[in-house]
Symmetry: C2
Subunit: 469 residues, 2 copies
Amino acid sequence: MASDWATFGADLHLELRGTRLRAGLMDALREAVRSGRLAPGTRLPSSRSLAADLGLARNTVADAYAELVAEGWLTARQGSGTRVARRTAPRPPAAAPPSAGSVRRRPATPVHNLNSGTPDLASFPRADWLKAYRRALTDAPNEAFGYGDPRGRPELRTALAEYLARARGVHARPERIVICAGFVHGLMLIGQVLRARGVRDVAVESYGLDLHDGLLRRAGLGTPVLGFDERGTRTGELAGLDGCGAVLMTAAHQYPLGGALPPDRRAEVVDWARASGGVVLEDDYDGEFRYDRRSVGALQGLDPERVAYLGTASKSLAPGLRLAWMVLPGDLAVEVAETKGAVGWSSSTPDQLAFAEFLRSGAYDRHVRASRLRYRRRRDQLVAAVAAHSPETRVSGIAAGLHAVLALPPGTEQATLRAAAWRGLAVQGVNAFRRPTVPPTLDGLVVGYATPPDSGWQGALGALCGVLP
Amino acid sequence: MASDWATFGADLHLELRGTRLRAGLMDALREAVRSGRLAPGTRLPSSRSLAADLGLARNTVADAYAELVAEGWLTARQGSGTRVARRTAPRPPAAAPPSAGSVRRRPATPVHNLNSGTPDLASFPRADWLKAYRRALTDAPNEAFGYGDPRGRPELRTALAEYLARARGVHARPERIVICAGFVHGLMLIGQVLRARGVRDVAVESYGLDLHDGLLRRAGLGTPVLGFDERGTRTGELAGLDGCGAVLMTAAHQYPLGGALPPDRRAEVVDWARASGGVVLEDDYDGEFRYDRRSVGALQGLDPERVAYLGTASKSLAPGLRLAWMVLPGDLAVEVAETKGAVGWSSSTPDQLAFAEFLRSGAYDRHVRASRLRYRRRRDQLVAAVAAHSPETRVSGIAAGLHAVLALPPGTEQATLRAAAWRGLAVQGVNAFRRPTVPPTLDGLVVGYATPPDSGWQGALGALCGVLP
């Protein structure tokens, strides 16, 4: 027996070098049990004898045995020595199924990326953010490192109330604001609250993100689809939807088609909410970016008791920060905060304090202003290049946001997308955003012109022009 | 009419000072509509005449009118001038209901805080954390600011795999790790996955946090309760629970009673999982803190395919960071990552990168070591003070973690808690953690000795001794 163990020990020799002898021995023994090299019930050599075989101090081995007994790997009984614990045989560790590595893995990075939904990540203001973070961390009261209010830090809610009133015409009070970890997190919380209230359906627009629609359905809500015409979402259809308790809208800049909801329809959707007791969920994902005029104020300003406003730093700053906010009607603010508290998580408090400092110091305004200039220039270049290369392609939608829609001749979207893929250009068609029940009547590309870094922009634009009809 | 407007303008005078004249006028007009001072249908003065009344440039007024038309507050029709938009009368903004401010608001801060569940927030290593954050933010690739892998940053998963193997005997591979925003977030994700798999029940221990139990029930799961005896949770009862697909355990340090699960029961719970195909959810909330010996390795090491390990920085560092991690069996890792991706949020990537750097640089080890010394000293002082002041009170449980249980004479818990409240001492009784179906057989205090800052510790200890029998 002793010689077997000496062989075993020799196998382990490399791992037993260094100072962490006991830990190394424990790891080796665990691995031997796990792999079946040491079968259940096997009696181990005495600590004295194994120590001699391995050239270790006896206490090192005795301690390792004792720890492994405490962990349940081994058993020690008076008179019966130390044995490998008996239990039902372990299943061999399953190899990860083929999909393990592919969870949401992006396809091989294309040469040019004009997918929409992400700002230019290279322009993240690292130095200014770090400055705000340092200041926030230095000034933070100790309690900021604790669990805290599920609505988020009061410093951030106060700074946001001021900013949103000024920049977006939002009627905001800090106690009505709930910080969340992205728009989707906020929508999930609101969806859960609406469902718990007994709401059956939340209406959605004809074009939008599957992710949002799916999230509402996961919360147990139906998602009837509002029609769409050349003036935008047909808000008049809301009145005909029985059991619809809310509507999700991108009023300032329809995503992805790019129109602004006209004033009479803005009024119509708020009137519907007032008359029916419903709630408008305003997804103001890129409201700060308007190039032809000042931004149209948020719908929420029209009736803070009927419109829930959702904003995010994901487009204006970076999605990686996972910072977003809701400004809610009073009753909804209470219920959403309770729901968020019951599931117990929120964004990191140092991040929240850093963002409050970033807002207060003016760094956010500066960054938004600089981004607006950069994206506006890119949009102008896009419009000019399309006009020069493909006169039959029309840039539709308002001059706003981080993406534009290129309306293509009927029936050409799929062929254009195939040509783009062939050239290593990542870009999406409008039909990727069409709800399944909406008939296909539009052909177009959704061009995320904010996505590439400055160094990649001209190349991406060239590749795009190369695939247009 | 003009004079009315002049009066109205005079009211606004203060707000119209400064450079943001148009924005100020728009705010004032919105407020006037919202409050009803300007009734729907009211015709507004021409921009020329209002500009004259208010001493503004005509364009300022015309621009403000145009923006408010775009936002839906006003309507402009050829020949009919500018009017307040007609719509159903707004409801007066509801006063927030009385509970609005009380959402999860803690009671008035007591003089002494010995509630358990929080480390000493004053000891958060601000300088070291900031150093790690700066380095992480400086070195981060641009793509780190994007949406990213729902499992979390690979840098952090790699650093955690190394740390958990070394410090907790966890069999961890980066692809099996999913970062989450606190233990509760992780438990919620696992609960959703188990429910979707068709699991009906997740067994819980006799004593634990309501929050966890409630979370599982919200996910649609039943929570049968395992019995408890002087050796700890009666894991043998698992075999008799039909339809039970998982068990939530605090094996290293029962929360809150403070025992370590004995080796035979550790083996028993893993054997049950193997035989039944169930999953053990190991809540290793304070595994790094053991004072009388080296920490007992995680249960997960016994069978990585049947034990899901959940760890957190909330006790070792700070809850405010909202950083926690799961090490999951292969199939569960895939499903949990998919579920997390579908609801789309995670912890901020700069924080994840900072924590990876904090681990790699050794700052985490140093902080844990220093905390271990500090909390061990406090526990020793607690034991000594209790022995001196209240010989009939026994400190139960192992020398570990951030809290101790003081076993009180039968029937004295409530009176002791009342005495504590009277003295401004926040502390909880063990019966606050007892599941409703478990008969009350223990009396005791759960003393979170890590909670106060150093400056408050002696005072808190004195107050505690003053209320013991």
